[in-house]
Symmetry: none
Subunit: 229 residues, 4 copies
Amino acid sequence: MAQNHTRSADARNGNNGTDGKRPPGRPRSEESRQSILRSTLKLLKQPGGFPELSIEAIAADANVGKTTVYRWWPTKAALVADAFSTSADEELRFPNTGSVQRDMSLQMRRLIRIFRSKRGKVVAALLAGGQSDPELIEAFRDRFLWPRRKQAYQTLQRGIDRGELPADSDLDLVLDLLYGPIYMRFLIRHHKLDESFADDICALVLQGLKRQPHHRKLESAKPQLRTVL
Amino acid sequence: MAQNHTRSADARNGNNGTDGKRPPGRPRSEESRQSILRSTLKLLKQPGGFPELSIEAIAADANVGKTTVYRWWPTKAALVADAFSTSADEELRFPNTGSVQRDMSLQMRRLIRIFRSKRGKVVAALLAGGQSDPELIEAFRDRFLWPRRKQAYQTLQRGIDRGELPADSDLDLVLDLLYGPIYMRFLIRHHKLDESFADDICALVLQGLKRQPHHRKLESAKPQLRTVL
Amino acid sequence: MAQNHTRSADARNGNNGTDGKRPPGRPRSEESRQSILRSTLKLLKQPGGFPELSIEAIAADANVGKTTVYRWWPTKAALVADAFSTSADEELRFPNTGSVQRDMSLQMRRLIRIFRSKRGKVVAALLAGGQSDPELIEAFRDRFLWPRRKQAYQTLQRGIDRGELPADSDLDLVLDLLYGPIYMRFLIRHHKLDESFADDICALVLQGLKRQPHHRKLESAKPQLRTVL
Amino acid sequence: MAQNHTRSADARNGNNGTDGKRPPGRPRSEESRQSILRSTLKLLKQPGGFPELSIEAIAADANVGKTTVYRWWPTKAALVADAFSTSADEELRFPNTGSVQRDMSLQMRRLIRIFRSKRGKVVAALLAGGQSDPELIEAFRDRFLWPRRKQAYQTLQRGIDRGELPADSDLDLVLDLLYGPIYMRFLIRHHKLDESFADDICALVLQGLKRQPHHRKLESAKPQLRTVL
DNA sequence: ACTTAACCGAGACGGTACGTCGTGTCTTGCC
DNA sequence: GGCAAGACACGACGTACCGTCTCGGTTAAGT
């Protein structure tokens, strides 16, 4: 991933196997590494977000030479992605209450709570930065989105197994229907995003799904008009 | 709004009423204004996007002094918003085919087509910039989102009138369910965003809604776990 | 002189003869002219001097359009020269006490007093600006230096007539000996410049001259060394 | 002095004592420093002089970032002073021929030659700039004027010792009488400034002094007239 | 203990773009 | 046709960061 470019951290500090070899020279300073990531998150929460975040400021805040930052992270984006994933941890787990609707709703509520907190700025910064930096949005997907989606698949599958959802449900579509509205309100802020929004979404999507045992494709509506943005 | 900060364009070009007065001094050059907006859109579509777009480059490309840009737009973001809204115009109209599902699906397909085209970069830049610039996201909402939402309300209302949708539908919720997934895939790019996606969304949301004549609130699920981002 | 470039003021306001003709159009505003000159002198006395004086500031201070300034004065230098000469008036006259030494000393004392006052800054600004603007230093010479030099010649001539100075004195040399030290101290400020300095100079130069009835050329000393600045 | 504002050159290059310590960080590039000074002198000699000299142009000519210029010199003036003093070196030495008049005349001739050469523009720029920048004129005095004055004192003292000048001569006054006329003609350009002018001044001042063994103060002449500049 | 090699802080370097200011020119409606 | 107001193209200002570099000074592992 983005975090080591010149050489592998494992190769240096590694002893990931049996050889126990370490290369000569001073080993990487773990203290500096953490200080840099901490400063990055701290500064990312401040107004201006990702675009106004400067490596100069990070190095100064972390009491670290700029060289040390550049030695380990090739771009600002890589650094932010790294800092973000460090903070993402294994939280946002999905519960297992015996009801899909309740499981999803609970997790979605927690996501909304994070979006509304200070940590939401980091996510926003990451998504914003990702619009012009493919690496950054990739980091978001790989480190944040996919790990949670995998759990979500399992949660939905349990619902199918229990008969709460039709067996032929398109899980990716369902998940986008559930989370898309949250992301949209989070990013565009056209309507209040509070936790009860999660319940409304779940009610409409999952109950609608429940009553629609045989999921059929809609006949495709052909576009007819020239559109200009 | 974002486009004029020092003084109102109407105040200068007058014609806002019957007096027909114009302020003293050389009037604003309409040619320069358009040239700047044109160059902005042009450069915004190039790689690097919003963050690498420089006012210096815009002014140079438009054969205009930097001062002239700064005179009328306080920030790069405001300029981009203006350029974008100019280009958005009255397109993305909603059709009226006699079927909500078809109407919505057709319009959503056109939105997706735009998102997939070069003009999508402008929207992405605007949403990205808006994450650290409240004025910018406000501009997006006011100039782009709301005008279309109003038409969407009418389209949905026609569906209600025809009995295709329950009378007590929460239109804002429905619209976020319809468009949220599109925005999410557009911004995160975790799945392919092609036009048929519009049909899938409509099918699930609108047909689910159809079979759910009495929309009831889901009993609220209380959050129970501490979460760390 | 520098003050009118496009057309002659006399030609326009003229009636310098009998024809009484005036060109068509609005006549030049005397009020604006004086306001501009006044503002120029005022701003010239402020720190920064000539190089930081801006036409923009003058026009603003004088409540006048920039165009009006540019219409009548081609350069900042011409404007300053004009303003300066307006203020120089017919003062700094030479007295006639019956003693060259006293006459010169009195006038030099008054020059020193001016140099030490706020008006000294205007002279300094003019001499400074003149180092890179030939027109400006020419204006200083024509409007300030020469008028006074002519009077000085007469004063010195009276001394010759009275036998206080040798008949073959090189008047230009004498005047530079008398005034050079004052200008030097004024511009370089390496020593205190007070009014008694005038007396010391006169004593040394004029009394030395008095005792040297036959002014002979010194045998020329040939330069022998390469010098590098 | 004007050349280092943020920190002392000695402090950085050490060697100020016995410790031999050098501060951390990359040391200042001597090559850049000289390149900047060289470009400054070169551009200063071109038409327009000091006021049209731009730091932008200097940096470009010296193949150096603007930042590097601003890092070491606070103003254009300080830079010019530094460049000038570097070029002034130990030249303009006073000869020792056994005759005050000859010694002074020879040195003054060399000064005039410099004033008439391209390097004169640098001196003029320095004196001009110094009229609105106290630091600059101080730099001129400290680096150019005083070093030479000290030698001049010795030259004159030798004259006194040999009996060519009265023992009670006011050396500062004498020096201003000798050099003032040269500076005046150089700056105001009201008369030709050629090398023979040095001889004329010396003849008048030094021979007049010789015949005036007891230097007495002139009775002070009180100023009586209001003067307006 | 000594060498070797990589990391670390500090900070100067050549650059690019920033947003501001002043230049001299122009365009307008009023006088 | 002068005048104020003020927009215009232009260019330099001094600043902030960029990403690179070059120092002296650690910090271990391998002699």
